[in-house]
Structures are given as structure tokens and as C-alpha cells.
């Protein structure tokens, strides 16, 4: 699949998909989307990059080991659940607050961090499987 057109388009395509995946992740609470779907989109973005340039390029682009990303995601989700204890409510109770950034009111919640964790777990796990498969015997 190392055709010129594909190789030229792949970085743009995957960057856009990554951006879109974050967008899908963040809008998920009110519109179709969420961490799981966002994660799948991001994983396909990396898959495209991998098909075009090979696994090592993706590993460089990701910087962290994909499984480490996955692990951090799980940690983040669990942590956002544990935060509830600090406010003496049951595990995983959603906590909400809003902050003003540059004059815009942004709602923040533990639920959002939970969803980001889901996103990271999905991206990390699926990408690491795909990469491991792509690396063939030379990996």
C-alpha cells in the first residue's frame, strides 16, 4: 500500500481524523459520540498511518508505548471515580464544576475525565494490537 498518493495523503488524513476523534470525544455527552467511538476513530487514524509508513513511524508519532497510553487511560478513569470519595459520595459519582477560560464558561466534570480515560484505553489497546500485527516477524 505504499502508493505515492496514499503516502502523501495519509499524514493529513490521520491528523484530521485524530482531531475529529477528540471532537467526537468531547461532544459525546450531548451529541452522538463519546470516548469509545472517539477512541476507535483515533485508532483507525493510526492504522492508516501505519499502513502508509509502517509501524515504526507510528511508534515514533505516538511517542509513548501504546499500552502505556492504555494503562494511563484506565488509571485516569479509576482516579476520576475515586475522586468521589473526597466529597463523600459513592464511587464514580459524577462531580461537576465550571471554570471561566478566556471569557467562556466551560463545564468540567469527573465524568469527562472518565470518558477521556475510556478514549485512551481504546486507542492504546487497539493500536498496540494493530502495530504488533503489522510488525510481522521483523519486529
Amino acid at each position: 500500500m505504499r502508493t505515492l498518493i496514499f503516502r502523501t495523503a495519509a499524514p493529513y488524513l490521520s491528523s484530521l481524523m485524530l482531531l475529529f476523534s477528540v471532537f467526537v470525544l468531547l461532544r459525546g455527552h450531548n451529541e452522538p459520540g463519546g470516548g469509545f467511538i472517539g477512541g476507535l476513530i483515533a485508532a483507525s487514524a493510526f492504522a492508516i498511518l501505519g499502513i502508509a509508513y509502517g509501524a515504526p513511524a507510528v511508534r515514533r508519532a505516538m511517542y509513548f508505548h501504546p499500552m502505556a497510553i492504555s494503562g494511563f487511560g484506565l488509571f485516569l478513569s479509576a482516579l476520576s471515580g475515586l475522586l468521589s470519595y473526597a466529597f463523600r459520595v459513592p464511587f464514580l459519582t459524577g462531580l461537576w464544576t465550571s471554570v471561566h477560560v478566556l471569557g467562556v464558561e466551560v463545564d468540567l466534570s469527573t465524568v469527562m475525565f472518565f470518558d477521556i480515560g475510556v478514549y485512551l484505553v481504546v486507542v492504546g489497546s487497539i493500536t498496540s494490537i494493530a502495530l504488533a500485527l503489522e510488525e510481522r516477524e521483523d519486529g
Binding site: H29, F114, V121, G124
Partner: protein, 798 residues
């Protein structure tokens, strides 16, 4: 913890926070032990021993209240919704045990400081033994059943760690595993027993159960509860035929043997029987089973002890015998028998702990535990000799020692005439004679006579080593000397707790003429005889055992081997490594599960009317059908995979058209990724490009897939024809925005309402990812070795 403290209620008496602290202190000390040991080396023992010492003094503070007939209890709610509490209850029985555990524990910590001096894992050892202490401590003061069970299992686990401490040796590992399997099975039995008792009486705390009188005895589940309970108690307390793990556990370092296998863990079973004697004892099964097994254990244990030549093994088998004696006495249940059991338990903890430590000390200084190479050490090790001799005198039941009191009471309890009692008396007499001989073999023989041919030149050990045995041996003497005080503080309250009524132990060291004294004298005379002729006895036992040739220990190995063989055979059948076989089985099961009930109960859906479909909906469906056709008729595998994608996308499109954007979205992504990953897997598998199945296989596959498809279609049709229960969807519709601040109900359910499920799911995703990664690596590294195709299972889909 703060939550526990905050929700405290129903506090009865006592200094609750301090007792709670006493319960967790061993675990805190265990956590600190490795660091302390790194800094202070073996001298960390002095610091660490402060923990059990403080606990000992804390429990000593309760002596007065409990000797006065009171109890100390307290606790916190643990899981209020299930009515489970973290609660403790202390009467004479618990308190005596608690004092033995913390008191002997203090000495053992010091002793291990000397015994394992310079060992690279000494810190770990301290940690394990303190954890064990905490578990044992918790076990004997637990009130709620759940806590009792948790601590019971903790003693099994920590003892596994301790027995297997020297994990590089095969024998240690085997002994540890054996102890874990045997006591772990017993633990399950105990859990079942507690559940039965709970459901039969409605009580899940010992204190309320003890106050419930005859309820349990009169319950139809009494016998079941008793048998399950004995399963737990007999395995833990090494009763015949489960006794074999205890001598094997002598693979552990001597401090472990001295602590777990004489004074504490193995007595947990006896503790449990004594604890429940007031509500379960005094029935025909109790008074038959317990003396029977106890007597058999006493007999077998002491006979096997005679055969040994290793100091520790001799002591281990006499411990088995002693535990049998305790169970037997508890089973008799008369007032004197209970008093005898209590006295013997206290005496045994002291002299056996001391003798084990003496054996370890001799081993440490001379390099051997073999009885024939040990003699003449009295000059080199005078303090050890003193401790050993004092402990042996107590074990032999010589007047002026606490063991004598116990022995007198045993004979008084059994010398009452009648067939059963006389038989038991005979067994007890033989057991005591042999234990007398063994006691002196360990405590006297290595020290007298000419110098032996030990590997090392012996000299007295450091204070850390001799302090423990000496204190324990002396306390056996002191307890007898001040017997009225000891009875007032320990024996009487404990006997009262065991009997369930107020008892006063009065026996003193002053000899009183009667049958017991005569029997004691007979024991001593015969014991001296046995001591002098032990070589002959040993030879006799060795040839007898060789003639039998089989024992439960070998049986254990056979059972384990059989288990492994069975597991291999079952695995070969169930997991034969052929992915197509797995899939066929799964899909046949799915088809049957769906079709059989539907046809059997006449729940087939009625024929639906032709729906009003738009032309584009029909087009999408047609695409799906074309995709499927392409899969079936594809010439090579890659085309088939891609065609499957066509069908998947068509279905996703349908979801979109029918108003499920989230589902459709996910379906699109999953389809894309599965095509990519499946294609990658296929390129790695190096399969033939096309595949040819034999006709029979093809027919089977077609049948199974058609059946599955038809079954699902029928199921879905039926589902849509039933009235729709809108409770959940209207709940989410109403509350999604109001409570969880989100309009996308699907997402709100995933991240908020059912967040815990999602947390579980992402953990599964990650674990699946890790395992697939590991499998691919195995494959990549061992090209030739691993040839099965099961590594490359389809990646997990959600």
C-alpha cells in the same frame, strides 16, 4: 478507615480505638519490617517485638474485667447494607488465645532476629510472621462470621508464605502448597459451615450465636453444619487423616514451626471447636466424632513421633498428637474434660514453643538436628539446656510444672469408667508416655552424655536466641507455682467460655492421692522406660510403617497427580486448539439456546406483515445481501474479509437511517478496524490464499450458520412483537439531563449511570490487548515452537 470510624455505632464497652489499633498494629509493623531490617539488620527484632509486646500489655489490661466474668466487645459497621460488621468479642477463651499469640509472638520475633541473622530476606521474614500474627490475632477475637472467615483464610495464606519461605528448595515449595491446599479446602468447608449456621439460626455473629442457646442444636441443619465445621477445624488442626501437612511444614525455618505449628495456627481448629462447644456440643454426633478423630490422631501422631530421628519432626508429630488430645477432650465435653483441655492447651503452647526453639537453637549452633549426632552439649550450651529441660519436664507432666496440672486433669476427666472413656484413657496414657519420652529426647538427650559428632563446634547462642525458649519454659514453671492466680486469670475464664457456664479450675501442684495421681506416676515410669528403649521402639515403628507402605502424604501426591492428569485430559478435549472447532461449538450452542426454548414453549413469532420500506432502505438491504453473497463466493480470503466489511457498513447505514446514530457510528468504526486487523492477521498467518473445505465440513458449516441466522431472526421478530417495557428508557430520558447533565443518553449511560460497568469493560479491553500482545510476541519469538493458530484470535470487539 476514617469512614469506618465515622459510622461507628453499637459500642458496648472498652477502649475501642485502642483495641482496633491492636488488631491492625501487626500489619503496620509488617509493612515497616523490611525497611527497619535494612537499617538495623537483625537488631530490628528488638524494635519490631515492641508491637506484639504492646498488644500483649493491651490485652493484659482486660484480664481483670474478663476474670470477673465480663466480656469485651466492640466494632464498626463494615457493609451495613448486608448487615456485616467488623466486630470483636472477647471472653476468657479469646483473651487467653490473644495473650498466647501476642506473648509468644513477642518472643518469636526476637528469636527470628537471632535465628535468621544475616539472611538476605530477613526483612521479608519479619513481615510474613507479623502478618501471620495479625491474622491469628484477628481470628481469635473476631465476632462477625465474615471477619472470622477472612482472618482464617489469611492465616492459611500467610502460613503458605512462611512455610515456603525458603522457596528455592523443592521440599519447601511442596510443603507450602500442601499446607495451602489442605487448609484452603478446610477454609471453604468452614465458609459453608458458617453460611449454614447463619441461615439456620439467623445469627452472623459469634456473640449472638452463643447467646442463642439450643437453636442450632435443634435445627435440622445441625449435622450438616457440624460436618462442614469439622472439615475446617480438622484440616487446620491437623487431625488424622489430614495430619500429614503439619510434619511436612517443618520445612519452614524453626521460628515458624515454633509459632505456627505449636502454639497458634494449628490450634485455630481447636479454638473454633471450643468456641462453638456451648452451642454445638453436648450432642451424640459431637461426642462421637470428636473423641474418635481426636483419639485416632493422638494415637497415630505419637506413634509416628517415635519413629523420627529429626528433633523438629519428633516435635511436629507430638504436636499432631497433642492436637488430637485437645480435640478428644473437647469432644468429651464434661466439666473436667473442658478444664483439662484448657489447661493442656495453655501448657502445650508454652512447652512446645520452647522445645521447638530449643531444637532450632541446637540446630543453629551445631548444624544438625539428627538425634544420633547430638549429645554432650550441656557444657557448651547451659542456658539452652536449662530451657530445654524445664520445657521437657512440663511436657512430661512432672510435678511442679504446668504440664503436670494438665495431665492430672486429663486423667481425672477420663478415669470415670465406661467403655468409651476407658478406651480414651488408654489412648491418652499411651500418648502421654510417648510424649514424655519425646520431650526428654529433645530437651535432655542432646545435652547429656559424651560429646557428639556434630558438624559445627557448638557454643551458646546469642541472647536473641535463648531469651524466647527460656522465658517460655520458665513461665510454664511459674504458672504452676502461682497456679491459683493463673487459674483465676486464665484457666477459669477460658474454661467457662468453652463450657458455656461458669467453671472454676482449682487443681494445684500439691499432689492429691487418687486415680489421676497414680496414672501420672505410671506415665512417668513408663515414659522413662520408653525414653531408655526408644531406639528399639523406633526400629519397630520403622519396620511397621515400611510394611504399611502407604500414608495420606503419599495419597496427597497421588491425588494431586491425578488432578493434573484429569485437567490435562479435560483441557485436551475442551481446548483442542482448533479455532474452527471452538466456533462451531459456540454457534451450535447459540442456535440451540435460541431455537429449542422457542419451539418447545410454542413462542414462535407470528408472520409479520410486509413493512412499508422506502426504496433507499431496500437498496441498503440489498447491498448487505450482496456483501454476504460476496463473502460466500469470494475466491480468496482477503476478498471475503473485505466483503464482510460491505455487509457491516450496510448494516451501519441501516442503523443510521432508522435513528440510532451512536450505534451506527460505532458500527462503522468497528467494521473498519476489524477489516484492517483481520487483514493484518491473515497476512501473518501465511495460510493458503484460497481455502477448500471438504463437502461434509461445508454442509455442517452451512447448517450451523443458517440455523443461527434463522434463530436470531425469529428472536428479533418475537421481541418486536412483544409489548415494549419503557421503564428504563423513560427513566433515562427523564434523568439524563437533569441528574447527569448530558443530552446523549447512550453516552450518559456509559460514563455515568453505568460507569462501573464501563470501568470493568475498559479493564477487559486493556487486559485483552495485553494478552494479544503477549501471544503475538510468543509467536514471533518461537516461530517453530508454537504452531497452533489460536494465538491469532480475532481482536476483541465491543
Amino acid at each position: 478507615m476514617t469512614k469506618l470510624l465515622a459510622s461507628a455505632r453499637r459500642v458496648k464497652t472498652g477502649d475501642r480505638p485502642l483495641t482496633f489499633f491492636a488488631l491492625i498494629l501487626p500489619f503496620l509493623a509488617a509493612a515497616a519490617a523490611p525497611i527497619l531490617t535494612r537499617i538495623l539488620k537483625h537488631n530490628a527484632a528488638w524494635v519490631l517485638a515492641l508491637a506484639p509486646l504492646w498488644i500483649f500489655s493491651h490485652f493484659c489490661g482486660m484480664l481483670g474485667a474478663i476474670a470477673g466474668g465480663g466480656t469485651v466487645s466492640g466494632g464498626f459497621d463494615w457493609i451495613p447494607s448486608l448487615g456485616v460488621r467488623f466486630s470483636w468479642y472477647m471472653d476468657g477463651l479469646s483473651l487467653t488465645f490473644a495473650l498466647l499469640i501476642s506473648g509468644i509472638g513477642t518472643l518469636i520475633v526476637l528469636y527470628s532476629g537471632g535465628y535468621l541473622k544475616g539472611h538476605e530476606h530477613q526483612g521479608r521474614f519479619f513481615s510474613f510472621i507479623l502478618m501471620f500474627m495479625g491474622a491469628m490475632q484477628g481470628l481469635v477475637v473476631s465476632d462477625s462470621f465474615l471477619m472470622l472467615f477472612v482472618f482464617w483464610e489469611l492465616t492459611s495464606i500467610t502460613s503458605f508464605l512462611l512455610i515456603g519461605f525458603d522457596h528455592r528448595r523443592e521440599a519447601s515449595r511442596r510443603a507450602a502448597l500442601q499446607a495451602l491446599v489442605v487448609t484452603g479446602l478446610g477454609g471453604l468447608s468452614l465458609l459453608a459451615a458458617l453460611l449454614v449456621v447463619w441461615s439456620a439460626t439467623g445469627q452472623n455473629e459469634l456473640s449472638t450465636l452463643l447467646a442463642s442457646g439450643n437453636v442450632l442444636r435443634e435445627s435440622p441443619f445441625y449435622l450438616l453444619a457440624l460436618i462442614l465445621l469439622l472439615g475446617g477445624a480438622f484440616t487446620k488442626s491437623a487431625q488424622f487423616p489430614f495430619h500429614f501437612w503439619l510434619p511436612n511444614a517443618m520445612e519452614a525455618p524453626t521460628p515458624v514451626s515454633a509459632y505456627l505449628h505449636s502454639a497458634t495456627m494449628v490450634k485455630a481448629g481447636v479454638y473454633l471447636l471450643m468456641r462453638l462447644n456451648p452451642v454445638m456440643g453436648d450432642t451424640a454426633p459431637w461426642e462421637t466424632i470428636l473423641p474418635l478423630f481426636g483419639g485416632a490422631t493422638l494415637f497415630v501422631g505419637t506413634l509416628l513421633a517415635v519413629r523420627q530421628t529429626d528433633l523438629k519432626l519428633m516435635l511436629a508429630y507430638t504436636t499432631v498428637g497433642s492436637l488430637g488430645l485437645l480435640v478428644m477432650l473437647t469432644g468429651f465435653g464434661s466439666e473436667t474434660a473442658v478444664e483439662a483441655a484448657v489447661l493442656y492447651l495453655i501448657a502445650h503452647s508454652m512447652f512446645k514453643g520452647a522445645l521447638f526453639m530449643v531444637a532450632g537453637l541446637v540446630d543453629h549452633e551445631t548444624g544438625t538436628r539428627h538425634i544420633s549426632s547430638l549429645s554432650g552439649l550441656r557444657g557448651a550450651m547451659p542456658i539452652t539446656f536449662t530451657a530445654g529441660l524445664l520445657a521437657a519436664l512440663s511436657m512430661g507432666g512432672v510435678p511442679l510444672f504446668f504440664g503436670f496440672l494438665a495431665k492430672e486433669e486429663i486423667y481425672a476427666a477420663l478415669a470415670i469408667g465406661g467403655g468409651w472413656a476407658t478406651l480414651a484413657l488408654l489412648v491418652a496414657l499411651i500418648g502421654n508416655v510417648l510424649m514424655f519420652a519425646i520431650g526428654f529426647t529433645v530437651g535432655l538427650k542432646p545435652f547429656i552424655g559424651p560429646m557428639g559428632n556434630a558438624p559445627k563446634k557448638a557454643h551458646e547462642g546469642p541472647i536473641l536466641l535463648w531469651l524466647g525458649p527460656l522465658v517460655l519454659a520458665l513461665s510454664g514453671f511459674a504458672a504452676a507455682l502461682y497456679s491459683p492466680l493463673a487459674h483465676h486469670l486464665l484457666s477459669s475464664p477460658m474454661a467457662s467460655a468453652v463450657a458455656g457456664q461458669s467453671l472454676t479450675v482449682e487443681i494445684s501442684t500439691l499432689p492429691h492421692i487418687g486415680a489421676p495421681l497414680f496414672l501420672s506416676a505410671l506415665t512417668i515410669v513408663l515414659g522413662i522406660e520408653a525414653y531408655l528403649t526408644q531406639a528399639k521402639l523406633r526400629a519397630g515403628m520403622v519396620s511397621l510403617l515400611a510394611a504399611i507402605g502407604w500414608g495420606p502424604d503419599r495419597g496427597f501426591d497421588q491425588a494431586m497427580r491425578g488432578l493434573v492428569r484429569l485437567a490435562v485430559r479435560v483441557t485436551r478435549i475442551v481446548q483442542n486448539g482448533r479455532l474452527d472447532f471452538y466456533l462451531t461449538v459456540v454457534f451450535i450452542a447459540v442456535a440451540l439456546a435460541l431455537l429449542v426454548p422457542m419451539i418447545m414453549f410454542g413462542e414462535l413469532p407470528s408472520m409479520p406483515s410486509w413493512p412499508d420500506l422506502r426504496f433507499y432502505e431496500l437498496t441498503v438491504m440489498a447491498i448487505a445481501v450482496i456483501g454476504l453473497g460476496a463473502v460466500v463466493y469470494a475466491k480468496d480470503r482477503l476478498t471475503a474479509i473485505v466483503s464482510l466489511g460491505i455487509q457491516g457498513f450496510a448494516v451501519a447505514l441501516l442503523f443510521m437511517l432508522l435513528g440510532a446514530p451512536d450505534l451506527s457510528f460505532t458500527q462503522f468504526m468497528v467494521e473498519t478496524l476489524s477489516v484492517v486487523i483481520l487483514a493484518l492477521v491473515m497476512t501473518r498467518l501465511r495460510l493458503a490464499v484460497t481455502e477448500h473445505r471438504p463437502f461434509g465440513q461445508k454442509a455442517l458449516d452451512i447448517t450451523v450458520s443458517t440455523a443461527c441466522g434463522v434463530a436470531f431472526a425469529l428472536l428479533l421478530l418475537k421481541v418486536t412483537q412483544l409489548p415494549f417495557d419503557a421503564t428504563l428508557s423513560s427513566f433515562f430520558e427523564a434523568h439524563s439531563k437533569a441528574i447527569a447533565h448530558g443530552r446523549n443518553i447512550v453516552n450518559v449511560i456509559i460514563v455515568d449511570f453505568r460507569g462501573l460497568d464501563t470501568l470493568g469493560e475498559i479493564s477487559v479491553v486493556m487486559i485483552a490487548g495485553l494478552s494479544i500482545l503477549a501471544l503475538i510476541r510468543v509467536r514471533a519469538k518461537g516461530h517453530e515452537k508454537v504452531k497452533t493458530t489460536r494465538q491469532e484470535q480475532a481482536p476483541c470487539e465491543h
